[in-house]
Subunit: 269 residues, 2 copies
């Protein structure tokens, strides 16, 4: 695997096409690795990036303490035969014009108001610089991939945005670097976030949305979770469900022992 | 979902781009549905085809008796909000120039010598007619997707070929329409095909290929399976493993109660 540390070094690469790009903030887990595996299976070459993007963290968030495990990450990527690893310099995110996305005023956008501006600004920079045929994201960050798809579509960028299923720990907890802030027992307990939204999905068949949300909220609060949001909305545009809605997103963000955890499930109607 | 029964009706459709194509022979199971779900998640529109392609069946194979469940298939596709279903007329496969693929003289190509000619001939016709941005296949048919990727690459067709993971029954048995030929108990028993290749993958870390193949062969024969092939080869080109091999394919085809079942696993080195 070739490690690239500058934009000029990146520009001199003649990628075998089609090639795929997997942007990450490092601290790689099975969720990230599922993206790299998919990319290796379906594209001629794969470039992964590791960059803890300061633009997408709020003032009181965990930018400084975000887990960094570069040596282990490199080994994991080598094991999957990833072709390139891009490690941008710390100033990579400086002096960029901030991009304001659609769909960013609900869910995670409400509690993290500048988060998606930061995500989209950096992804735009990556896509214009690397020009991959495909760029891969996980569906855990459902709102993120929706925002990026919308942007790429509107701007007619040549990269296909592909979203892959959530990878979970044995308990059901969605894989996330932030799971590392929790003990093994806590992570086991947090598996019920997933059970809860699975049950909510099932209940939607027979109960009104309002009741489903109330029940799920009670359940999570009784289990010790502080709820940031728990929404049942149109998966296509994150707005209220209408008669036209053909798939529903149940999305949840909770805080447990100061750690913010998100998860979601799609229900096809 | 709009159902299309002729090539001329197909030609008049103005697909929203990017759109994905899922070719099937019907009798849809969770494996097929995982392709349609992926397509719905990642593309603006999805067209599925159901066509039992006579060209890919040998003389003594199950073309005539291949399971047909069209009404149920339509319902399943409607449930997933698939946009179009293409049901070619029976003469769709007539008068085509047969295409001879690479990689077709090993594995399934040995026991089904004209199978991949038939597959590639029909896929070529589909891709030139429909011109999808992406065409999706399952990795159960590993050799098939490799052959199609190679062909599309060489012919510089504009469709991206995407392969998605094998979907399994609870027993571990890879989903296949041919599983319907077996009883529930038989399908449970056939789960050990997967355990066997998983064990073989593990053994490869410590044992030579020859020993791994012998052990797996013995295991399956003792469990009542007739072995068509069991190969441990280079996943990139289906040839013998060399020092350059970075991923290994363990591929197996067995006959159980007259039903031919295939499965495979990839081992990254």
């Amino acid at each position: 695997m070739q490690i690239i540390k500058s934009c000029s070094a990146l520009n001199s690469i003649n990628f075998q096409k089609p090639f795929a790009f997997v942007p990450t903030m490092g601290n790689l887990h099975e969720g990230h690795l599922s993206l790299v595996k998919f990319a290796k299976e379906n594209y001629s070459e794969v470039i992964t990036s590791i960059f803890v993007n300061p633009l997408q963290f709020g003032k009181n968030e965990d930018f400084a303490s975000y887990p960094k495990t570069l040596d282990k990450d490199i080994q994991l990527l080598e094991d999957l035969d990833c072709n390139y690893l891009f490690l941008p310099e710390p100033n990579f995110a400086e002096n960029l014009e901030v991009i304001k996305p659609n769909f960013s005023d609900v869910l995670c956008g409400l509690s993290r108001p500048t988060h998606f501006d930061g995500v989209l600004t950096i992804i735009d920079k990556f896509l214009r610089l690397i020009k991959p045929n495909a760029c891969l994201f996980g569906l855990k960050d459902y709102q993120q991939q929706l925002i990026i798809k919308d942007y790429v579509n509107k701007k007619k960028l040549r990269t296909e945005i592909i979203s892959l299923p959530i990878v979970r720990e044995n308990s059901g907890l969605a894989m996330s670097s932030r799971n590392n802030y929790l003990s093994k027992d806590d992570r086991e307990h947090c598996g019920i976030i997933y059970s809860c939204i699975q049950n909510a999905a099932e209940s939607l068949k027979t109960s009104p949305v309002k009741i489903v949300i109330e029940k799920a909220t009670d359940f999570l609060e009784n289990a010790g979770f502080e709820i940031d949001y728990l929404e049942v909305i149109d998966a296509n545009n994150l707005s209220l469900i209408t008669k036209k809605t053909n798939k529903i997103l149940i999305a949840v963000a909770v805080i447990y022992k100061k750690v913010r955890l998100i998860d979601n499930i799609i229900v096809s109607l």
